[in-house]
């Protein structure tokens, strides 16, 4: 199953092959989950969106047209819509809570405890800055900078032109830089940034 493409796995899954569906899910659920996590800042929303995206794939997978976009970009597009819905529904409840403070804290593996704390502070500050971006800028940043999609795939996922992605990213980077400069007064962030650069 590992050597099959996403589209082949989807075709087999829609034919009733559970192994193909499982392989496709395990291959794609991580990026989808992280996209929803970065967009919403909520672990619960991210899990909910991931489940909704693959439920959608089970029910409406036949609507996918491989000639229009890759399956990965298609799934990001579906996830984007579910994230929007979830944010409209839950934004007031979840706010800008960051799972980095609790769940993801255990993900940090660092020999230097002090370095780990400062990195955590930096990543939290970056995340807050990303979450404070307008939604269309945030989508571009999350897809291109955090998910490392190419501009073409991001344009397919967001349903916009390539130039639009570039201009949004350019603007979003400027906004992020300004936000991070403002938050650089917080202890540790500038030092970590400098250390990352060195």
């Amino acid at each position: 199953m590992t050597d099959l493409t996403d589209e082949q796995l989807l075709a087999q899954a829609l034919a009733g092959n559970e192994d193909a569906f499982t392989a496709l899910y395990r291959r794609r659920q991580g990026p989808i989950f992280r996209f929803a996590l970065h967009m919403s800042g909520s672990w619960l929303i991210a899990e909910e969106v991931t489940q909704d995206v693959f439920m959608f794939l089970i029910q409406r997978g036949r609507d996918f047209d491989p000639s229009r976009a890759a399956l990965g970009a298609y799934l990001f597009g579906v996830a984007r819509n579910y994230v929007r819905r979830a944010l409209e529904r839950n934004y007031s409840e979840t706010g800008l809570s960051s799972p980095l403070d609790d769940e993801a804290q255990s993900l940090t593996v660092n020999s230097d405890p002090g370095d780990g704390i400062t990195r955590q502070q930096t990543s939290t500050a970056v995340w807050k800055a990303v979450l404070s971006l307008p939604e269309h800028y945030r989508e571009a940043v999350v897809l291109c900078d955090l998910q490392e999609l190419t501009y073409t795939d991001a344009a397919e996922a967001l349903g916009c032109a390539l130039g639009t992605i570039r201009s949004r990213l350019h603007r979003a980077h400027d906004m992020l830089s300004r936000k991070l400069q403002h938050s650089a007064a917080a202890p540790g962030i500038s030092s970590v940034t400098a250390r990352c650069l060195s």
């Binding site: 499982t22 992280r34 996590l37 980095l100 990195r119 940043v141 900078d145 570039r166 990213l169």
Partner: protein, 258 residues
């Protein structure tokens, strides 16, 4: 390379490509232009900070519950060959029940309409039957119960009957008219009183009987005016009379029985 070309070329690269700075032309321009060098440095710092967040969440994934739930749905959805109507298989039970109740509601509404039509028809039939009866009632007649109207009966004090308004109902205007035309002491039947009750005399200066009001016929004893005036024995001279009492307690008509 101008600053504009630098910007155009730099924005075509992703943040990671830009931070690695492998494009020699960009590096050359940044080496000679302080403003573009500062911008490039800013992008590198941004890439570094973004990398911390990316590394932090790289292992984040949905929990095993999500996979189990999805596989459960997948098995339910593919237990039969996939059909175009597969979406119906995921229809929640509540939706099916609501459809059932919807059909039930339609049936109930239809049944209610049928019952309403049936009752309406029955009501119209009853009204059509009542029309001739009503016309009979509206005739200006005074119908007195047989015990009152039967003159041949010689019961001196029969039980006082109570009759309904219908039995004494008359057209008010015609009754007043007849009352004015006839004298109080005459037994001549007025124009409005039918032959059977011709001996009823409408009293003057009384309000006409209202068609919607109830009236009662009361049998009572009247002293003879002559005997009463001379102070003689009254019992032998008593007269029995039927008095029509209106709904307001005012006597409207009187009939001397003996």
């Amino acid at each position: 390379m101008t600053c504009r070309e630098f910007e155009h070329r730099a924005t075509a690269l992703t943040l990671w490509e830009l931070s690695q700075a492998q494009d020699q032309q960009i590096l050359d321009h940044a080496g000679g232009c302080q403003k573009c060098a500062a911008w490039l440095q800013q992008q590198r710092m941004l890439a570094a900070t973004m990398q911390t967040l990316q590394a932090r969440t790289a292992a984040c994934a949905a929990g095993p519950d999500v996979e189990r739930a999805l596989l459960r749905v997948f098995r339910q959805g593919t237990s039969r060959p996939v059909q175009p109507e597969m979406a119906h298989r995921f229809t929640p039970i509540a939706m099916r029940l609501s459809r059932f109740f919807e059909v039930g509601a339609y049936v109930l509404v239809g049944a209610a309409i049928v019952v309403a039509l049936f009752l309406g028809v029955r009501l119209l039939e009853q009204r059509s039957i009542n029309v001739p009866v009503k016309s009979q009632v509206e005739q200006p007649s005074v119908t007195v119960p047989s015990v009152v109207a039967d003159k041949s009966e010689s019961q001196p004090h029969p039980p006082l009957p109570t009759v309904s308004r219908n039995n004494v109902n008359r057209s008010p205007t015609r009754r007043v008219q007849s009352a004015r035309m006839s004298s109080p002491d005459t037994t001549e039947p007025s124009q409005t009183i039918p032959d059977a009750d011709a001996d009823y005399v409408a009293l003057m200066f009384c309000d006409p009987l209202s068609c919607s009001s109830d009236a009662q016929v009361v049998r009572m004893e009247l002293p003879s005016p002559g005997i009463a005036a001379s102070g003689g024995e009254q019992d032998a001279q008593m007269r029995i009379a039927d008095v029509v009492v209106g709904y307001d307690g005012v006597v409207r008509a009187v009939r001397i029985v003996n």
